[in-house]
Amino acid sequence: MIPPEFEYTAPESVDEALQALTQGGEDAKLLAGGHSLIPLMKMRLAAPSLLVDMRKLSDLRGIERANGGFRIGALTTHAQVSQASELGVAAHAAGKIADQQVRNRGTIGGSLAHGDSASDMPAVLLAAEGSVVARGPNGEREIAATEFFQDFFETALADDEMITEVRLPAMDGWKFAYEKFTRRAEDWAMVGVCAMVRGDFEDVRVAFTNMGGTPIRASAVEEALRGQGRGAIEQAAQAAAEGTDPPGDLNATADYKRHLARVLTRRALEKAAAA
């Protein structure tokens, strides 16, 4: 658990950080909460030559409501997100990430930038149809969740870009649930299901954690339920695994994950409907 040698800098501003990142080249990495990157470094699976620590970028912390949505600073911790109940499903899901120590250090921007589809926030961002704001040498751009996640640990973020903000629509009138299936409380989800229901099923969103290389929207379930009622949940949930190709691992075969997706989709929708 001993990382290789690296350079370290902790700039005072976003601009300085981006400059350091660019100058550091492709082996430079941004460090936010460190709960994904540092373990990889200690196991020598990642060996960045330069760490650009974001800890002094205090502008990137905090949550504010603006223009019908929420702007969440990239350095806002999971613990802070979990306590902001106005965020709805995002707060609920953030409270289920790992354990308290991880939630106190890990950040929403860091988690999304890591691009791990077994993490909880990617599915939430996708279901909520949120976006991230990225800044790089050529300025700022907003990337929709649908565009952001590309494959296992691959995102639309360029090497010289930084997530500065996460944008979530205010989901007024939506009810929600996030069903996370784990062996131990602190584990990554074997499968997670984010379900959101507006009014009496006027609209429905369902997204999966850890059912593929990216978070996945369960479009077939959504279509089968939209405009229907609670009575249609059981039938609709049967379509949950359609089109998914989840990776098997130590704890779950692909078949089992597809089975869990169906069960958890039904449970999440029932909970959301009853919320």
């Binding site: 704890n251 075969t253 958890l264």
Partner: protein, 807 residues
């Protein structure tokens, strides 16, 4: 049985739930673990380990690492041929040959498991060492690996050690010769294949070693449970006389058996320090600890239990196929045999036999992990009792009651050839049922099933054998372990009246500092605060055997008690002399040595010790000082027992098991400190529940270790456990003066069948009649799918159906 003047005689500290003296430094960051010890001029070692499960070493190119400025030396196995002996294996059972390959700290010629050490780099700091290790280029010629123990037994299997022509290390048996006849006479024979999978010790402090050789004297700091035995064994490997060799076990952060060994890294650091004449150290990373600290369990067991239709057990045959891994560590081949001694369980079974086959595979060696053979045997017996009850349509509690050895039969001789010292198996089960409301649960279970919910209850009524050990029974001409198993103690009262107690045991979390202080305080008329217990340093007291096998209290504590009584006896003589009374008229009351009937005439321990060390007025011919030593070799083992029950709910859709209640009644004799007992029972249960539900060391088919970190090796946390409902009965052992037995392993021994029986009970309405550990959601779901005739379930052999040929 031995008799010693019975204590306690002083202030009544024994029996009190006194808080652990050792905790304040440990929980405020003031502990001193091996990795905390800084030695002047120390260098850091990093070990290059094999990524191959089985391969010839073609070449090792050290040149790039050696060229680095901050590297002091790079060594391979071939550079260390001046070692005097390979690493030790200490079991030589009379009449049985155990195939034991030479096992060196660094591999010579070939590697036999992932993580096998092939080279070492010593550098100026730990970062430099790990960086340089990446520059050592090892070329391997991979060989086929064998991972499955039953595959390894077949003709044509890859051979872990070609020179033996087989992977079978030995066969060994214990118990009744007439077991086949007894089984043939049974009404019903229940047969099952039960897999007891591989687990890790997973101590939170990984292994760590720091060696300091200077001016002909070697000091080795190591995270071990057995400092004296490490010194004895490594003295032989290194060719260093014991009198020039000191081993220190400072604070040790858990062991669970994984530090009950003599490891290559201990030998290697000592060797390097001597060669470089400067301190050299190494601390395992978590991943190193997962791949190169002994694992436990890993048996495939075939049981046949002969029953009468009324539920009487008439015979039990157990065939244990033990996956020993690639080498023989200190007690690797012995561990399954330890289980054979408890194969009769709590039951009066006329004929019981255990036959064991040891087998090499391309995995790290197994050895003693908490319970060491007894959890495997107990799991097998207790699962079989439930299976037999179900097959006969009887209640599992009633089958247990019917077969218990009755209280009046103790001491009880059992078929495996040991004599249980004491027991009251009905007593602990009755007390458990009183807490549990068994009938109420069965009614609730029936209601829940109507709602489509699956509740289950599981029992485990266990006994175990501990208090290692009577040397004549276990030593070279007995079971064949090449050691004695007595324990030593020194009680040294200082001139000012405080006392230092030395114990040859070597605690690593158990609480000896507190419990032993209570024992001594009562016996010499002091307080636990004034009694300091020291251990784990070969230079500070007599030879001792260490801490394992739930031996510390029943053997080490008894030795401490006996040394304390010798001190008290001398103190009484001095008090009698000073008070002008007869020694027999002096009694220790309320912490004072008083003349019986004259409480105003008395002396404190401090008064007496001052007189002993300034000996102007002590009895003629008496030696000065107040300092006594004891060596205690027990005449029998001790046999704790108890009854455990678990209530689970299984989510039949997802397969997830929710442990809702865990209730237990344990009997380890009279309590020295009930809080320490609860701590041991809690930890023990977690360890057993962990094996049943969470933890498993997994190697894939090519021998790669899949569970190399705590992400994949699912050590449970408090969040996964219910609040345990613990209770005790106290049946004194006749073996020692305090009547005490061990309790460090009891919870682990009892817990795994409790869980598996509960899960099986819950799943029976779904057609699942047997399931092996760990009962993960995936495994439970697959078992349900298979039983319901859906999808791809586990293969037949994972459903407890013997595939034949292995009897």
């Amino acid at each position: 049985m031995s008799t010693v003047e019975a204590g306690p005689t002083g202030n009544g500290y024994v029996g009190q739930a006194i808080r652990r003296k050792e905790d304040p430094p440990l929980i405020t960051g003031k502990g001193r673990y091996t990795d905390d010890i800084v030695l002047p001029g120390q260098l850091w070692a990093a070990i290059i380990r094999s990524p191959e499960a089985h391969a010839r070493i073609v070449s090792i190119d050290k040149s790039a690492a050696e060229a680095r400025d901050d590297v002091r030396i790079v060594l391979t196995g071939e550079d260390m041929t001046d070692l005097q002996a390979p690493l030790p294996m200490a079991w030589v059972p009379p009449g049985v040959e155990i195939k034991t390959p030479e096992h060196w700290p660094l591999a010579r010629g070939k590697v036999c498991h992932v993580g096998d050490a092939v080279a070492v780099v010593v550098a100026d700091d730990k970062y430099a060492a790990v960086d340089a290790a990446e520059d050592v280029i090892v070329e391997y010629d991979p060989l086929p690996a064998v991972v499955d123990v039953e595959e390894a037994m077949k003709d044509g299997s890859p051979l872990v050690h070609e020179q033996f022509g087989t992977n079978i290390t030995h066969e060994w048996g214990l118990g009744s010769e007439d077991v086949e006849e007894a089984l043939a006479a049974a009404d019903v024979v229940v047969e099952r294949r039960v897999v007891n999978h591989r687990t890790a010790g997973a101590a939170i402090e990984p292994r760590a070693v720091a060696a300091d050789y200077r001016a002909g004297q070697l000091t080795l700091y190591t995270a071990t449970q057995i400092p004296h035995l490490v010194r004895l064994q490594l003295a032989g490997c290194l060719g260093i006389a014991e009198e020039h060799f000191r081993v220190v076990a400072p604070d040790v952060g858990g062991g669970f058996g994984s530090k009950l060994n003599v490891y290559g890294e201990e030998c290697l650091m000592a060797y390097l320090s001597r060669r470089l004449e400067t301190p050299v150290r190494w601390t395992a990373t978590r991943s190193e600890d997962m791949q190169a600290a002994v694992h436990g369990r890993d048996q495939v067991d075939y049981a046949r239990m002969g029953m009468k239709r009324d539920g009487t057990i008439v015979a039990l045959h157990a065939k244990l196929i033990a996956d020993l891994g690639a080498y023989q560590q200190l007690l690797t081949p012995f561990i399954p045999s330890f289980g054979a001694f408890v194969m009769s369980g709590c039951y009066k079974i006329p004929s019981v036999r255990t036959d064991i086959v040891g087998v090499f595979t391309n995995k790290f060696p197994t050895d003693a992990i908490r319970g060491a053979g007894r959890p495997e045997a107990t799991h097998l017996i207790e699962v079989m009792v439930d299976q037999a009850a179900a097959e006969l349509g009887l209640d599992p509690v009633e089958v247990r009651r019917k077969n218990f050895i009755p209280k009046e039969d103790f001491p009880a001789d059992v078929a495996p050839g040991v004599t249980y010292d004491s027991g009251d198996y009905h007593g602990s089960l009755d007390r458990l049922l009183g807490t549990l409301d068994y009938e109420g649960f069965r009614a609730e279970q029936a209601r829940a099933r109507e709602e489509g919910r699956y509740l289950g209850i599981g029992f485990s009524t266990y006994m175990e054998i501990c208090g290692l050990a009577p040397s004549r029974a276990v030593g070279p001409s007995g079971v064949g372990i090449q050691a004695g198993f007595w324990e030593s103690a020194v009680v040294r009262v200082h001139p000012s009246g405080g006392a230092t107690v030395w114990t040859g045991t070597s605690p690593h979390g158990q609480g000896h500092d507190t419990g032993f202080a209570q024992i001594v305080a009562d016996r010499i008329g002091s307080t636990p605060e004034q009694v300091e217990v020291i251990h784990g340093d070969t230079d500070r007291g007599p030879f001792g055997m260490g801490t394992y096998g739930s031996r510390s209290l029943a053997v080490g504590g008894e030795s401490v008690a006996r040394a304390a009584l010798k001190v008290a006896d001398k103190a009484k003589k001095i008090a009698a002399h000073l008070l002008e009374a007869a020694p027999d008229d002096i009694e220790l009351r309320d912490g004072r040595y008083q003349v019986k009937g004259s409480p105003d005439k008395g002396l404190t321990l401090a008064d007496i010790s001052l007189a002993a060390y300034v000996p102007e007025n002590i009895p003629d011919g008496m030696e000065p000082g107040l300092d006594e030593t004891n060596f205690y070799d027990p005449e029998n083992f001790v046999f704790p027992f108890g009854a455990h029950a678990a209530i689970v709910e299984v989510d039949a859709e997802t397969g997830k098991v929710d442990l809702k209640r865990y209730v237990c009644v344990d009997d380890c004799g009279p309590a020295i400190n009930p809080m320490l007992i609860d701590g041991q029972v809690h930890g023990g249960i977690v360890h057993g529940v962990a094996q049943a539900m969470y933890e498993q060391v997994v190697y894939d088919d090519t021998g790669q270790l899949v569970t190399g970190t705590f992400v994949d090796y699912a050590l449970p946390t408090a969040a996964e456990m219910p609040t345990f409902e613990t209770d005790r009965t106290e049946t004194p052992s006749p073996v020692n003066s305090m009547g005490v037995k061990g309790v460090g392993e009891a919870g682990t021994i009892a817990a795994s069948p409790t869980i598996v029986n509960a899960v099986t009970d819950a799943l029976r309405p779904l057609g699942v009649n047997h399931i092996d550990m760990p009962v993960t959601p995936l495994r439970v779901w697959q078992a349900i799918e298979a039983a319901q005739g859906r999808g791809s379930g586990p293969r037949a052999s994972e459903q407890g159906v013997p595939e034949g040929g292995a009897q």
